[in-house]
Structure formats: C-alpha cells, structure tokens
C-alpha cells in the first residue's frame, strides 16, 4: 500500500513538475516560517493549489508539528521517533539536529483551516475512497472558487458514486460563492445543494442569499426555507434522542437508589458518593492501564465496570452493616447518618485524589458521532443508553428470576415472615443494599465519560435521582425507568423554548403538580393495601 502510494506520488510529481515548476515549490516551503499566521495560511493555501505531490508530505508534517526550521534556516521534516531530519523540499538527509536548535513553525486556527483545505485539495485524487470523501467534504466546507478547476478534474476522474456526489456539491458551493457562472449553472448548483439538505448545505447557501442574480437569490431563499422545514422534523427526532440520552443518564443515576430507597426505604444521602466512587474506580483503572498496558485502553471501561460494582457495592455493604442496620424502623434517621457518610466519602476522595478534576479518557469507540439521516448521534451517548438498558435488564432478572432476588422481595414485603421461613434477613439486607450501591458504582463508570470526575460529582446527581424515583413511584423499578425517560424527554423538549434554566424550573414545578395528581408517583402500588 505504502509503496503504491509513493509510486503514485512520484508519478504525480513528475507529471506536474514541468507545469508548476520545482522552484515555485521550494520558494513556497521556504516562505512557510516567515511572517505572521495570515501569511502562513496564504502559503499553505498556495501549496494546496500547487498540486505539487511533495506538498502533501510537507503539509502533513506541518499539521503534526514535525516541520521545523534548522539553525541555518533550512526547513526540515523531523521524524518524531528518531529525531532524524530530512530536507522538506528535496528529502536530503540533514542528520539528527539537537531538539532545542530547531525552531517550531507555529499554527493557529486560521493556518489549521488552510491546512485542512490544502490537504483536501491534494488528496482529492488519493487512491483511498475514504480519504477522497473526506477531502471532498473539506472542499464543500471551504467553498473556494479557486478550487473549481481542481474539483472539475477530480470529478472527471472519480468513480465512486458517493464521493462523486459530494464533489459535485462542493463544486456547486464554490460556483455559487464565485457568482460568476451562468444563471442556469447557479440554479443547478442551488438545486444540488438543496437536495443535500443538511447543515453543510445551509452553510454553503446562506452566504449567497443576496446573490446578484435575482432568480438565483430567490432560488437560494426557497432552498433555505425548504431545508429549514425539512430539518424541523429531524429536529424533533433529535430532541427525542437528546431526551432519551438524558433519560438514560437519569436512569443510571437513579436505579440504584430505586433499590436502596425505593425498595428498602433507606433515605441514602450517600448515593451520589457511591456514584462518585464508581467514577474514581474508572480513573484508577485507566491510570493503571496507561502505565502498564496501554494496549488495553479500549477495554478500560469493561474492566472498570465490574470493579466499580465491587468497590461501590462493598462500601454499600459496609454502610449497611455498620450504620443502616442499627436504624431500621427509623428511616428518617438514615438520612442523618448517610449524610454524615456522604461528607466523609467526599472528603476522603478529596484527600486521596485531590480536589480537582481527574482525567478519565474516552476509548475510541466512545468518541465521535455518526449521522442518522439529518440527526447526529454521539457514540458515547448511544453506548450509555445501551448500558443503562443492560443494567436495568440485569437488575430485573436478578430481582425476578434468582433466589436471592426472591429473598430480597420477601424480606422487604414481610420481614418477620421471611425470617420465620429461614431467610437470613440481615444477610439479605446487606446484599440488597450492596446491589443498589453497586449499581450506583456502575452509573459512575458511565458518568465518568460525560461529566467531571471530581469530589463533587455525586452532589450533582443526588437531588435528580430522588426526584426520578419519587416521580416514578418508590418501590417500583419500572416506575424509575418510566420516570427517568419522561423527565429526560420533557426536559429536552422544554430546553429549546424555555432555555436550560427555566426548563429545569418548569420540570420541577411539573413534578410538584404531578405529585398532587398522583400522590404516590407514576407507577403507584394501587389498592387498599397501601395505607394499611
């Protein structure tokens, strides 16, 4: 593959060297370090338009901070690993210069933007269709009239239909920007972009809404309106997705509480801190992996999850055996004691890990986003949703299908009877509390991917968690599921209209009013047995 690439590059270089002139390329490279950022951006752009095959290598080195200036003013590419330098223009060996003798060629956003466009121009004819597609997208974003010629050439050579479409759209954007093509060409360009109908198309069309040609201007206006209209529906879907995603976070945070508070009736104010412990476990796991087995980083969350469950669950069992056990029948006093536990856990984490945020990385499969139609779905949110459902399902199975689950339900429904039947209620209590706490730890693993990992992590979720459990109806984990998603989606539908702050206030007022209507939550246990 590499050999082939080099061959193509050499061929390209040979073909164009005669036309563009080798001297030109050398001058441009030599000009890179000079002047300010704006000058540098200009040189980069010209390098891109030069079509010189060697330019790609230089530009890639520049983007990677590997292009340096030697003490004698020569521009060299320095290989990161060996420190060996070669001439940027001709590839001559320059030895291994001392790192501090080299001067950096600094970048800023303007230069980086120019680099992206220029690299795109140079990879329009790359053999890898994926690279060509990304190059075409860059060209669409740039909408640069000076690229029309290159785009035409690429279009003629292109065989991949997907790439071809984007190339055509990129050309259309450039054509519109230049405003010099015939009316028919411009109108065709508008139609093409209107068909694309996404944010990129909007960005390409919006600047030419006041085009000189009135027919074009009208067409652009209409196209923009159409796109906006079509995107409205997608916007709705996007909101639902945001709501589901927020709901999944709420569910994860609350479902452990649905066990300790909803089922066992313990007002566990340390729940948030158990979530925090899960997040810190993830941090520790990643630290160890970073230090000892960097190859496993992709698995760090999978390794952290069971550990987080054990750590938080273990602390939970300790809290139950040490404190809560003495307080059954005095549920409100568990509030006082667990509040004390929460203060101590927070301070303990602060003493051990420091008060500031810890860096928990996202494995590559948790990063980035993909498009579903006009809707953008980020991977981390998707996986968190999947994880939330998985945790919920496993919990259901444990509660409904296993012996320990049966014992848990028996003890919470009738402690005395369960004890008479030979169930060791103390052990079951500890396990139930441990289960709820362990799930809080799992939530911490997920939350470490989207939120701060700091001693305050838990405080941010405790109030919301109680709201979800109570809104759904304490004692019913299905209620917690429904509650989490209802609140999540409602919140995300209110946010665009009311703003984030007012939206949240409205949700809280909504909960207060809802409880008036259903004083025992969404999924209340009905019947006359309740108040007996």
């Amino acid at each position: 593959m590499k050999a082939f690439l080099r061959m193509v590059l050499v061929l390209l270089a040979l073909a164009e060297a005669t036309a563009a002139g080798a001297a030109d390329f050398a001058t441009l490279v030599a000009a890179l370090p000079a002047g300010g950022y704006a000058d540098r951006a200009k040189v980069v752009r010209e390098l891109g338009l030069s079509g010189d095959g060697r330019a790609l290598k230089v530009l890639t080195a520049l983007a990677g901070d590997d292009l340096k200036v030697m003490a004698d003013g020569a521009v060299v590419i320095v290989y990161e690993k060996t420190g060996a330098a070669v001439g940027a223009v001709d590839g001559t060996d320059k030895g291994t210069p001392a790192a501090d003798s080299l001067q950096r060629i600094k970048l800023n956003n303007a230069v980086r933007r120019a680099l992206r466009t220029a690299t795109g121009m140079l990879t329009l004819r790359d053999p890898d269709p994926a690279k060509r597609l990304s190059a075409a997208r860059d060209a669409l974003r740039a909408a640069d009239p000076e690229q029309i010629e290159a785009l035409d050439a690429a279009l003629a050579a292109e065989t991949d239909p997907a790439v071809k479409t984007v190339l055509a759209e990129a050309k259309a954007a450039a054509v519109l920007k230049s405003g010099e093509a015939s009316e028919a060409d411009q109108l065709a360009a508008v139609t093409l972009l209107a068909q694309r109908g996404d944010e990129a198309a909007q960005a390409a069309l919006a600047p030419v809404v006041n085009a000189k040609d009135p027919a074009v201007a009208a067409a652009v206006k209409k196209a923009l309106a159409d796109i906006a209209e079509a995107r409205k529906l997608w916007g709705l879907a996007q909101n639902v997705w945001y709501g589901l995603s927020l709901g999944s976070v709420l569910l994860l945070a609350a479902v452990g509480l649905a066990i300790t508070f909803g089922v066992m009736g313990v007002i566990n104010m340390a729940h948030g801190e158990l979530v925090m412990l899960g997040a810190y476990t993830t941090f520790v796991v990643q630290q160890v992996i970073r230090a000892d087995a960097p190859g496993l980083f992709g698995w760090s969350l999978a390794i952290a999850a069971p550990l987080a469950f054990l750590v938080a669950g273990g602390v939970g069992v300790a809290i139950e055996r040490g404190i809560v056990r003495h307080l059954y029948g005095r549920p409100l006093e568990t509030l006082l004691a667990t509040w004390g536990v929460s203060l101590m856990l927070q301070q303990a984490v602060r003493s051990i890990f420091g008060p500031d945020n810890r860096d928990v990385g996202n494995p590559s499969w948790m990063s980035g986003a993909f498009h579903l139609g006009q809707m953008q779905v980020t991977w981390n949110r998707l996986w968190i949703l999947v994880f939330a459902f998985a945790v919920f399902t496993v919990l259901l199975i444990v509660l409904k299908r296993t012996a320990i689950g049966l014992q848990m339900r028996a003890v919470t429904q009738n402690r005395a009877m369960a004890a008479n039947m030979g169930i060791r209620t103390g052990r079951v209590d500890a396990l139930t509390f441990g289960l709820g706490s362990g799930i809080a730890g799992l939530a911490g693993v997920a939350l470490s991917q989207i939120d701060n990992v700091s001693p305050n992590l838990g405080q941010g979720y405790i109030v919301d968690s109680f709201m979800v459990v109570v809104f759904g109806g304490a004692g019913n984990i299905w209620g917690t599921l429904a509650g989490a998603f209802t609140l999540g989606i409602a919140n995300k539908f209110l946010e665009p209209f009311a703003g984030a702050v007012l939206g949240k206030i409205l949700i809280l007022v909504g909960i207060i009013l809802f409880i008036q209507k259903r004083p025992r939550g969404l999924f209340a246990v009905k019947g006359r047995a309740v108040e007996a």
Binding site: I323, L343, V470, V501
Partner: protein, 370 residues
C-alpha cells in the same frame, strides 16, 4: 417516652430561656461596657447567627416533630424571609450605592435596568418589609400546602416535593432576570432603620433581638403544641387516618402548622440577613434544608428546645472545626452525625436528660446498658 408536661413553660424550656436571658444580658455588657471587651464583636455576630438558626430549627421541629411533615424545603422559607429583609436593606442604601442611583439598587444599575420592578415597590418602608417577611413565606407555604395536603401527599413524596420547591426557587433566584441580584444576591447593606450595621451596638441590638425572637418563637411553639390543636397535630403524626375518622380535617391542621412554621422560618431569615450581611440563592440549596433537618434530629426531634440546641451545636461545631481543622473538618462533622444517630437515638437533649435522670436516681442494675 415520658408523659408530656402540660405547663406552658416546663423545666426544660425554663432552663433554656434562663440561659438565653443570661446571654442577652452578658453579651452587651461584655461587648460594649466592660474594659478589655471579654466578648469580642466577632462573637456577637456569630451568636446572633446561631440564634437565627435555632429559631429556624424550632420552626422545622414544629412541623416535623409534632406533625410528622418532614420538610426538606424549609430553607426556602428562611431565604424568602431573608430576601424580604434584604430588599428593605437594599432600598435603605439609597443613593449611597456605587452608582449613586437613589432608587435602583447597584446590581440593577449594573445589569442596565432603568426602573424598579413592581415587586420591589414598598420595600423602602420598614413596616411593609416586616409584613412581607411574614407574608411571603406564609403565602408560599399556604399555597404549596393547600395543594399538597389536599391531595394527601405524605411521607417521602411530600419531602421530595418540598425539596423540588426549594430547588426550583434556587434556580429561579440564580437567574439575573429575576431582579434579585442573581448569584451575588443582595449585599453591601449600610444600615437598618438608620442604625449603622457596622457599629457594634447595632450588632448587639440585632443579636438581642434574635434572642427575643427565639424566646418568643419557643414560647409560641410551646403554646401551640400544648394546646388542643397541638394534641391533634400529634394525632396526625401518629395516626393520620384515625384522626380523619374522628372528623378532623387533617389538611387544615397541616396547613395551619406548615404556614405558621414557614412564617417563623421567615422571621429567622429576616434576622439572619442583617447580621451576616448577605442573602443569596445558595440559601435555597437543598443541602441547606437537609442541614436544618440534621440540626433537629441531632438535638432531639419533637422537643423544641432540643431543636434549638441542635442548631447551635452544629453551627458552633462548624465554626470551630472549619477554623481548627480546615482540611479534615468534614470527617469530624460526618462522624458526629453518624455517632449521634446510632448512639443517641433521642438526640442530644434526650441523652442529656436521660443522663441527668440517671445521676439523680441511680438506676437499678438491670437497666444499665450492656
């Protein structure tokens, strides 16, 4: 549980009131008139603050201890009373603000408002502000309670919606658009009724006023709880259904005590603000309201005096520990909460009285705890 005493001022309350009286005499003497100032001004403001917390705790004990309503939102009533007083104090600054605007408080000039919003009208008058100190928390409690109690929201559900209430208010008061100074709240007060807030005499006066308010609050609470109404409240706490079947409108009783308690909390807030010099939305934070519950539980629920004692103990512990163990005070406070719940189920007051009783009358051997 001992038999409830019927006298308005029982021994427990009597001792506490006597202590309070000694304090109100000793502090001004020690601060203003004695050579060497054995009571520094710093301590005066601190005591005043504790007394306000104590009144707030008594207010919560009234609803939680006697009627079983665990409010996790009592900080909201306290803060509203505080804001009402703060609004008066802001108007009292007048043209002495940094922009010298005679009407608008600094923060309004600062965010570019041109005229006073209607809900700030009248707060330049002290009596109006006092009325609002009672009315605003009272009306909020009445409306909130009317809905909640009528719908028979009880137990944790009620607790959580009171928490939702204070959380919603927290977010609302954070908003600068609300016209209450946003996150910064109301601050930089100059004087109250013409008395310079920075003068020690004013501080002593406010502290004495707080003591009087606490004494008044305790006596009022004691009077209410020893009345027939107080007995019905305990009925509601212990057997709500039975109380209904006897023909009592439970929701009216709850509403009465909830509103009364909110107004007491409002008074506590109003006295608190001039003494600490600031009122801002963090007073609405759910954690603050939970802390009030902790004071009451720690002191002894359903004893009134215990609640006041609990508030003073925790606040004093915080003052001492944040200074003496700045890096570790949370461990100490957390451990204190855990130990008290497990070792002293009747609260500090219960343990204290139990201890005294044991001292007076040596317990038979079998009663000694194993």
């Amino acid at each position: 549980m001992g038999r409830p005493e019927k006298r308005l001022i029982d021994r427990r309350l009597g001792i506490f009131l006597a202590g309070l009286f000694l304090l109100t005499v000793a502090v001004p003497v020690g601060n203003l008139w004695m050579a060497g100032q054995p009571v520094p001004t710093y301590l005066v403001a601190l005591i005043g603050k504790y007394l306000c917390y104590a009144l707030l705790a008594v207010a919560l004990d009234l609803v939680w201890g006697y009627c079983g309503i665990l409010s996790l939102g009592h900080g909201a009533f306290f803060a509203l009373g505080g804001y009402a007083m703060g609004m008066y104090l802001m108007r009292e600054i007048g043209a002495r603000g940094v922009y010298a605007n005679p009407v608008l408080p600094d923060f309004m000039v600062f965010i570019g408002w041109k005229e006073l919003p209607w809900y700030w009208y009248g707060f330049d008058l002290f009596p109006f502000a006092l009325l609002m100190v009672l009315l605003v928390p009272g009306v909020l409690a009445f409306v909130f309670g009317w809905f909640a109690f009528r719908s028979r929201v009880t137990g944790v559900y009620l607790s959580i919606i009171t928490q939702a209430m204070t959380y919603a208010l927290l977010l609302a008061f954070f908003r600068n658009d609300m016209g209450f100074g946003g996150n910064n709240g109301l601050t930089d007060f100059k004087d109250i009724l013409g008395f310079d807030l920075a003068r020690p005499a004013t501080k002593v006066g406010l502290m004495m006023l707080s003591a009087v308010a606490l004494a008044g609050g305790l006596i009022l609470a004691r009077w209410v709880t020893t009345s027939r109404l107080g007995k019905v409240l305990v009925c509601v706490r212990d057997a709500e259904s039975r109380t209904r079947f006897l023909g009592y409108r439970v929701e009216h009783y709850k509403l009465f005590i909830f509103t009364l308690s909110a107004m007491m909390a409002g008074v506590a807030g109003a006295l608190y603000v001039p003494q600490v010099g600031i009122i801002n939305p963090s007073e609405f934070s759910p954690a603050n309201s939970i802390e009030i519950v902790i004071w009451v539980a720690l002191g002894g629920r359903g004893t009134l005096v215990g609640a006041a004692l609990g508030a003073i103990l925790v606040a004093a512990a915080k003052t001492i520990l944040t200074g003496a163990l700045p890096e570790a005070w949370l461990y100490a406070l957390g451990a204190l909460f855990i130990l008290v719940t497990i070792a002293l189920p009747t609260g500090v007051l219960g343990a204290l009285e139990g201890g005294i009783a044991r001292l007076k009358r040596p317990a038979p051997a079998q009663e000694v705890e194993a």
